[in-house]
Amino acid sequence: MTTERLFHQSGPGADLLIRGAYVLDPRSDLDEPHDVLIRNGQIAELGAPESLPAEAADTLDAAGKHLFPGFVDPHVHLRTPGQEYKEDLRTGTAAAAAGGFTAVIAMPNTSPTVDSAAVLGSLVDLARREASVPVGFLASITSGLAGGELTEMADLRDAGALGFTDDGKPVVSAGMLRKALQYQRLCGGVVALHEEDPELSGDGVMHEGAVSARLGMAGIPSISESTMVARDGAVARHEDARVHFQHLSCVESVEALSAAKQAGARVSGEACPHHLTLTDEFVRTLDSRFKMNPPLRTESDRRALIEALRSGVIDCVATDHAPHARHEKEVPFEQAPMGTTGLETAFPALFTELVMPGELELSLIVERMTAGGALYGLPIPRIAVGEPANLCLIDLDARFEVGEDGYASRSANCCFHGRTLHGRVLLTVAAGRIAHRRPMLVSRAAASTGGN
């Protein structure tokens, strides 16, 4: 028996012909223009440009645009239940769709915490009503994220949990983590870790370095994260457990992850677009949009993350989409909550800052942005006949100012706000249904194509 672990609204699948888009799917070995026919939410046919008959009522002229398999974000905060004024499943999945994501994995640090099958069950029901993009849920490792006692992990798995995390907080006790990893042998599910030593982080609000010295704000040293990655890599290896390291931010953590992998530990890691494209220099503005945990670090950390994403030491991109209300962020930096939104800007930011300057190949970005779900056992979106339609159509030439049209997210605390980025998401089909579509994208009536 397989337990369902992605939840979304149900409805009829889309019928759609996407004509002539440049299709890039590294796993399907597709790297050229194609027609893609979607019938009842499934990829029904692939063909040379202008080769497929226009049987669908909806035909999109997508020449010059890029079609990718749908992105999967293994790390988002949808703030539901309890903080719907920041985000809910409707706005959060709308933001995901606007960013080309066709599946997201929500963190359990809500109010109440997702630490019981009852809370998870109500979220699953809500997702079936409200989620336009499939959502998977992690449950917490410890009750109330308090670090004191394990959740009913087996029950939570049966209720649909993809895995477990105390994200937002570390599992401070190595003994507690070890028990969770032992229990994983019973219930399965990846254990994902927010790595931070609270003693080393202290009251820190930003990376500890030259910029924090200048600003007089307490720093979070890189070793706060990396020492915990090293510790838990060793614990994971000892228990032969499956562990995923969340939002890695510094060169020392990359080294610790690499060492754990080389030692044979079954560990993986993710990196965020903001850590891959920005540094603590931006904190000089004292703009709280640049406050997140882990913090923006230095250029050498950023370079190490890029290299680790290239080499595969870091397995995937995750946004750590963390919405906060305007009044919460509109305070002095030290008082502001940690977090930036990221779903709507992940691909444009990585494309603009890493692909356009030649740092990374476009196909590698697509590969790493689609890999996050597979780490939790989810199928990887692919553009191939017979697959469910999980894909996004992007205009790489389109420039836009982040935030100029507002956000699909309920919150606007985006660290890329005001930046000019390339790569506008025109269409997202998630689980066979159209989840996002720019109004500017004109469709041709099926009849008009007959004469070509």
Binding site: A213, G216, M217, G219, H327, P332, E334
Partner: protein, 310 residues
């Protein structure tokens, strides 16, 4: 050509050397006013200065108040020390409410870095940073440069040591910037737990011992807070005083001693040194009023076109 003044004074980085000198020159003329029997000039008559202090202060708040009054401004002083009003949103609400009175300037002291900069975004008034968290205290730096310039003539190539708890000191940060901008060489010295990593990026040197303090022309001593012991930054005040206290055994008579106040007698400074002729502590306090008059004057009167434009 006169250097242009910024609209606000948030950071020493808002001022180039010429801007600093312009304020100091103006302060010299106001120091002369402070020597008169009637210590008042009509420069800001009919204009309002709001002092908004979210943190305890004696020297800074009283000298800003006196400075504004000696310029004939109407002065409103608000002290809000406590957690319920010490929140960002109410800061914004407070500033917008006060802005309805159309103040010419808002002087703000806050326990949080960046507060003055935020206030500048919420009000049409000129904003003066009277201390934001551990970030900056630019008027303190200006009055310290003023005091030293009067004594030394110029700061060029002077060796200035800043000794003590640099980690928690906004004064240290503003003074490193101001002293180096005026041509001095700055060395910070203190327990390694209280010296920020990479402080050298501010343009100073760093050393953990007072071994070479005799090289200094000026020793600028920072206040050692008692709470730093509880936080294990130093094991005891006794050991701190033994290693870092500035006293006659460590000083030449030609070396000048400064301190932003309030002083812990017998901890960072010996009582005898505080009261010695080489200490400029009283001059610093006296300079506070004249320098803050000059800051308000230059921001509000010195460049009237700029003030109107924004």
């Amino acid at each position: 050509m006169r250097p242009t003044m910024p609209r606000h004074l948030i950071s020493i980085d808002d001022l180039d050397r010429a801007g600093i000198e312009r304020i100091l020159d103006r302060a010299e003329s106001f120091a002369e006013v402070s020597g008169r029997e009637i210590k008042k000039v009509p420069a800001l008559r009919g204009r309002t200065v709001v002092n908004l202090f979210y943190e305890a202060s004696t020297r800074t708040s009283s000298s800003f108040e006196l400075a504004a009054k000696r310029l004939s401004a109407d002065v409103v002083s608000i002290r809000s020390v406590g957690s319920s009003v010490d929140k960002g949103e109410s800061l914004k609400d407070t500033v917008q409410t006060l802005s309805a009175y159309d103040p010419a300037a808002i002087v703000i002291r806050s326990p949080h870095a960046g507060a003055a900069q935020m206030v500048a975004g919420w009000t049409p008034a000129a904003v003066v940073n009277a201390g934001d968290g551990k970030h900056e205290h630019p008027t303190q730096a200006l009055l310290d440069v003023f005091t030293l310039r009067r004594r030394l003539g110029a700061l060029d190539d002077a060796n200035i040591w800043i000794v003590g708890d640099v980690l928690h000191s906004r004064v240290a940060r503003s003074n490193i910037l101001a002293f180096t901008r005026m041509g001095a060489h700055v060395t910070v010295c203190g327990p390694p737990t209280l010296i920020p990593r990479e402080i050298e990026a501010l343009g100073c040197q760093s050393t953990p011992t007072l071994d070479n303090v005799k090289e200094a022309d000026v020793v600028y001593v920072l206040r050692m807070q008692h709470e730093r012991m509880r936080e294990s930054f130093v094991p005891s005040l006794r050991e701190y005083a033994a290693r870092y206290q500035i006293n006659s055994s460590r000083l030449n008579p030609r070396q000048l001693v400064m301190h932003p106040g309030p002083v812990n007698r017998g901890v960072e400074l010996s009582a005898a040194t505080i009261d010695s002729a080489q200490a400029l502590i009283g001059d610093q306090v006296k300079a506070g009023v004249a320098v803050r008059m000059a800051v308000l004057y230059e921001l509000l009167v010195g460049t009237p076109t700029l003030a109107v434009a924004a």
